[in-house]
């Protein structure tokens, strides 16, 4: 229940955050909304010596129209992503996905950047951002770089972020209209993480919790591109995946769910187009 002791440090700007991270090195972790990190610390599965609170880095909370893409500050709360007029109009898949994260209280605190950097394989946003071919802007001691979503997620809780680097912005290309999109999250209870989930945007299909990272359903996308029907393409949903077995679902059942949910997502997306 009680986290192990740590030193609290506060940043009020991106530069200050980077400086504090450089100062404390691997003893430090960034604290965004805290809805993933603090529970881990309370169970004593994580014990950073220093927490750098980003809660006052207000410059990273925004949803901006940049013409061909929408720029979202990494510290934008899920609630604000879910209710953004701009996203609801131009990238409804992302707004819908943010709405599905956790519960209302968690959405008032958790941030899109925090969720992406945490990289839980069962999380909703990473898969959607993968389907949207988002780009992550990362700032570090050696400057700024952009990482495509396809290269960002490396493993469970493992990303392309180097020590000390800070995710500052998520850039989401605006999908063509009329937008064919769908978000399917399958769970036993509304509050549970996805047992399996699917995010579809146009011809991009991404899977939640079918491996150690979010995955594009490449075999499905190929089949669709070759003119296969939705029903036939969806049968390939589990190809190239590596779903786990746990108390919530077996691997075989997850693979079955992937097939069903991909089919339903493609049907729903198609009806929207």
């Amino acid at each position: 229940m009680i986290p192990p002791s740590f030193t609290y440090a506060r940043a009020t700007s991106v530069d200050e955050a980077l400086a504090l991270a450089a100062e404390h090195g691997e003893d430090a972790k960034y604290l965004a909304g805290g809805q993933s990190l603090l529970p881990l610390m309370k169970l004593r599965f994580a014990a950073p010596a220093v927490l750098i609170d980003l809660g006052h880095v207000t410059e990273l909370s925004y949803v901006r129209d940049e013409g061909t893409y929408v720029a979202i500050g990494a510290l934008t709360r899920h609630h604000d992503v879910a209710t953004s007029e701009l996203l609801l109009a131009d990238v409804p898949l992302l707004a819908r996905t943010a709405e599905a994260v956790g519960d209302p209280q968690i959405r008032h605190r958790g941030t899109i950047g925090g969720s992406v950097a945490h990289a839980d394989a069962a999380a909703d946003l990473p898969a959607t951002l993968l389907a949207l071919d988002a780009t992550f802007v990362v700032k570090g001691p050696s400057g700024t770089r952009s990482v495509p979503a396809a290269e960002f997620f490396k493993g469970i809780f493992e990303t392309a972020l180097e020590p000390g680097e800070l995710l500052t912005e998520i850039q989401v290309p605006k999908p063509a209209k009329p937008a064919a999109w769908s978000f399917q999250k399958f769970n036993k209870r509304a509050i549970d993480f996805a047992m399996v989930g699917v995010a579809v945007q146009g011809t991009s299909v991404a899977l939640i919790n079918m491996g150690s990272t979010p995955l594009r359903a490449a075999a499905v996308e190929s089949a669709l591109a070759s003119g296969a029907s939705i029903a036939d393409a969806a049968q390939l949903a589990a190809e190239g995946t590596n779903a786990g077995s746990d108390i919530h679902a077996s691997k075989a059942y997850r693979e079955h769910l992937a097939r069903v949910l991909v089919r339903r997502a493609l049907e729903e997306a198609s009806a929207r187009a």
Partner: protein
């Protein structure tokens, strides 16, 4: 800045709770819920789990519902917190949600109630006329073992109507 006394894992936290300013030096790791219960001496907000699952600790932080067990007191520095103890008017008149809980028998043992009430206050601020389904969905993060939620949902809908 003098906010972080060196080497003692302590931090100075200043926040407003139910309209009252409270300042204290606390351990860095102090959770907001413990700050409220032990420093501000407001024990109505309860703790029901340690995995951010049950919602018993829900309070308003700058008007938004949050699970106070998953917020550091230090993160709330400079902000304003409202607990159930701060809902009734100064004259002692219950807030519409409190009143609705009373009239609809929305509580039994009362342990989940402060968090449940604050979650509904926030829900109604964002959605003043919710459907039953929206209320139920909006309470996915609050667990009750006594009521079966039936009267809690009724109370939320009654409070919404009373506030129109």
């Amino acid at each position: 800045m003098d906010r972080y006394p060196e080497g003692e894992h302590k931090v100075k936290v200043e926040l407003t709770v139910n309209g009252k300013d409270i300042t204290a030096d606390v351990e860095d790791r102090t959770l907001l819920v413990h700050f409220l219960r032990d420093v501000a001496d407001l024990t109505a907000t309860n703790i029901g789990c340690e995995t951010t699952s049950c919602g018993a600790c829900t309070v308003l932080l700058d008007g938004d519902s949050v699970k106070s067990c998953t917020v550091l007191a230090a993160q709330a520095d400079g902000r304003s917190v409202t607990t159930i103890e701060g809902l009734a008017s100064d004259a002692g008149e219950m807030h519409p949600v409190q009143q609705a809980f009373h009239e609809q028998h929305g509580l039994q043992c009362g342990y989940c109630t402060p968090g449940m009430v604050m979650a509904i206050v926030s829900l109604l601020r964002e959605n003043p006329s919710p459907t039953e389904a929206e209320v139920r969905q909006g309470l996915e993060g609050n667990i009750c073992r006594c009521t079966g939620y039936h009267n809690i949902v009724k109370a939320a809908l009654a409070a919404a109507e009373a506030s129109q």
